[in-house]
Amino acid sequence: MQCHEKKLKEVLSKVFKVGLEMIDEDASPDTVENWDSLRHMNLVLALEEEFAIEFTDDQVVEILSYKLIKIVLQEHGIEFIQ
């Protein structure tokens, strides 16, 4: 499935309640203040809903940065376009 990368950024921006410009390639719990363990659950649920996928248990714990999320979503067959 092809997908605009903006869609991914919008999910993070909504879940963490930060401006879209805060979500760059290096976004992680270190750069995004609201990215705590509780909101991480919402992130997982929101990504699964928006991209119609289901993470494996390991992936749930793994996807702790923007880059890792992208890699894992690509493993689920999602191809990002700019």
Partner: protein, 589 residues
């Protein structure tokens, strides 16, 4: 308010969609509410759902979560966050696996667990004065004793059911403070798959999925709406294809579909049941139909399967005028704001006319899938009140005698002659114990004749009525058509030589007869008998519903002393006896 308000029993929006709605930077206008969770599991996931449903209901929530599994400590520690804030609602969220960690194995007994829980609940109730919500527990989804049932194998399942029964009984016995949030019913509605999030239970102690959290949040928002006076008060119904199938003017009494034994009459019969249930909870029922009045009453009076009879209706407009005008006219007859109404009609044109002309009315169209109709009003929490008082049960009757009063009004040449003919009398006294619940309810529900719109819980009213610094005065009205019951409240506190009128409010059904003047005179008179003469300070806090009382204090003889941004202060330092007596209102001892 739109037709979609509270419509879905399970909300279909995606998490992102909800967050977008919640985060949208429309001005956070609405009534602020504070909610404190005391919990023994991770419940933070409920926050977006709470924010979402609060925003739909015009509430702005502030949500605090107590420390994880520190329920006992936070209740027992007088320094805990619980006692620093005074929330509108405390939510005790107890998950059984954490509450009884050994419960899976030990043969525990429901009554023993309940007695521990009752102590805990008693402590929260004693140390706070707000409403407390408590959940039932979720019985195990699978049998823990296999397919065999014998009396020697303890069954976890049966014990949970018993415990839930005990919780219900406790809440019933303490309903002035406690509200039941029935998790057991949630899981019955949703099933295990839609309720339980075992992944996040094991990873983060967060056991519930979206559907469950959504129902939980909706249920809590019902409580908050009732507490903040946001409930609807009157249901207005069309007749043809709404109360019965078919058109009475064409099909006749024999031809309309209302037979309780056959489809689709049985659906309308069932819908009528749901209306009567609402009526018995104090909701006013009215008719608005394009029909000949006699035809409609013929059904109500003579159809063997019309459960609804003429006496259930507080008002009706059966004529050929447009429905928006008719609804406005019902609103003025019943003295209710337009936002108090819910309207049901089968005709999409009528529905959209009313929706456009009167956007504050909640409008429902009879569903095309008719079998869904009987649940329409049951699944939508529009008329919630915290407790049903004995007044509620006879409310329609009270309004009907008000209708008779209005009929007579036409017969008199001047208002004065009319008022004199009513044989009005009032009884004013300090609040009695059995009136506390009704007083709290009036503070929660009265919007129009309410000078300060301060909302109080039952326990708060109880506390201030027992304090020597405060007084709560109640009003009862009688006239030749009957008694109107407890319909006015004044709350005051003394501060040195001053008496401060904290709240002054009256039910709208007794307005327009000068009773408010007689009430204030009598109430201040009673207060000065126990407190001595006072300089009375009163205030008017404007809301978008109470403009009709903007100049009440001036007309009662109070002097404006200060006009602030949000409210106006008045003073009255003359002798109370200088307030003019109303000649046609007798004072009962």
């Amino acid at each position: 308010m739109t037709r979609t308000e509270d419509v879905a029993s399970v909300n279909q929006k995606s998490l992102c969609g909800m967050l977008e709605f919640v985060n949208a930077s429309t001005v956070a206008s609405g009534i602020p509410v504070t909610i404190n969770f005391l919990r023994n599991f991770t419940i933070e996931g409920i926050e977006p759902f709470l924010q979402y449903h609060c925003k739909l209901a015009g509430l702005v929530p502030q949500v605090t979560f107590g420390n994880y599994d520190m329920v006992y400590q936070e209740i027992l520690d007088s320094q805990s966050h619980l006692y620093h804030s005074s929330p509108d609602l405390i939510v005790l969220s107890l998950y059984l696996d954490t509450y009884l960690p050994d419960g899976w194995r030990a043969s525990w007994r429901a009554d023993q667990v309940m007695s521990g829980l009752a102590t805990l609940l008693g402590d929260v109730a004693k140390n706070t004065d707000c409403i407390i919500a408590l959940n039932t527990f979720i019985p195990p989804y699978y049998s823990d004793c296999g397919i065999s049932m014998d009396k020697d194998t303890p069954s976890h399942y049966d014990e949970v059911l018993k415990l839930n029964q005990l919780i219900r009984a406790y809440i019933m016995a303490n309903h002035s403070r406690f509200i039941l949030i029935d998790w057991e019913r949630f899981v019955r509605l949703l099933g295990a798959d839609e309720s339980m999030d075992y992944r996040f239970w094991y990873m983060s102690k967060a056991p519930f999925k979206k559907g469950f959290l959504d129902l939980y949040a909706q249920e809590l928002v019902k409580v908050l709406k009732a507490l903040k006076g946001k409930s609807r008060k009157c249901l207005i119904l069309d007749c043809d294809n709404t109360l019965w199938g078919g058109v009475i003017g064409e099909d006749g009494l024999q031809g309309i579909k209302l037979d309780r034994h056959t489809y689709p009459g049985n659906i309308f019969f069932e819908f009528q049941k749901s209306i009567i249930k609402l009526h018995d909870r104090g909701v006013l029922i009215a008719l608005c139909s394009k029909n000949n009045e006699q035809d409609v009453f013929d059904v109500l009076d003579n159809h063997p399967d019309s459960l609804l009879k003429r006496e259930y209706f507080a008002a009706w407009r059966i004529n050929w005028n447009d429905k928006a005008s008719n609804i406005s006219s019902i609103a003025s007859e019943l003295n209710l704001g337009i936002d108090s109404f819910v309207f049901v009609d089968d005709n999409p044109v009528e529905c959209s006319l009313v929706q456009n002309m009167l956007p504050e009315v909640v409008v429902f169209q009879v569903p095309e899938k008719l079998y869904k109709y009987p649940q329409l009003l049951l699944q939508n929490a529009l008329f919630e009140t915290l407790n049903v008082s004995s007044e509620d049960r006879v409310r329609s009757q009270l309004y009907r005698s008000e209708g008779n009063r209005k009929d007579e009004q036409g017969k008199f040449e001047t208002l004065q002659v009319y008022l004199e003919s009513l044989s009005l009398s009032i009884k004013v006294h300090e609040v009695k114990d059995d009136e506390v619940s009704r007083v709290a309810q009036l503070t929660q529900k009265t919007n129009q004749f309410n000078l300060t719109t301060r909302r109080y819980s039952e326990s708060r009213i109880k506390a201030i009525s027992n304090s020597s610094e405060w007084a709560v005065i109640t009003l009862f009205v009688n006239d030749k058509f009957g008694a109107s019951g407890l319909t006015g409240v004044l709350i005051a506190r003394k501060e040195g030589n001053s008496g401060i009128i904290d709240s002054f409010l009256m039910s709208c059904r007794i307005l327009g007869r000068g009773i408010e003047k007689a009430f204030i005179r009598e109430a201040l008179f009673i207060l000065e008998q126990s407190w001595g003469e006072k300089c009375w300070i009163a205030e008017y806090i404007p809301t978008n519903k109470n403009q009709q009382v903007a100049d009440f204090w001036s007309t009662a003889g109070f002097r404006e002393v200060e006009r602030l941004d949000r409210h106006v202060l008045y003073e009255f330092s003359d002798s109370v006896t200088s307030i003019k007596k109303i000649s046609y209102i007798a004072i009962e001892e």
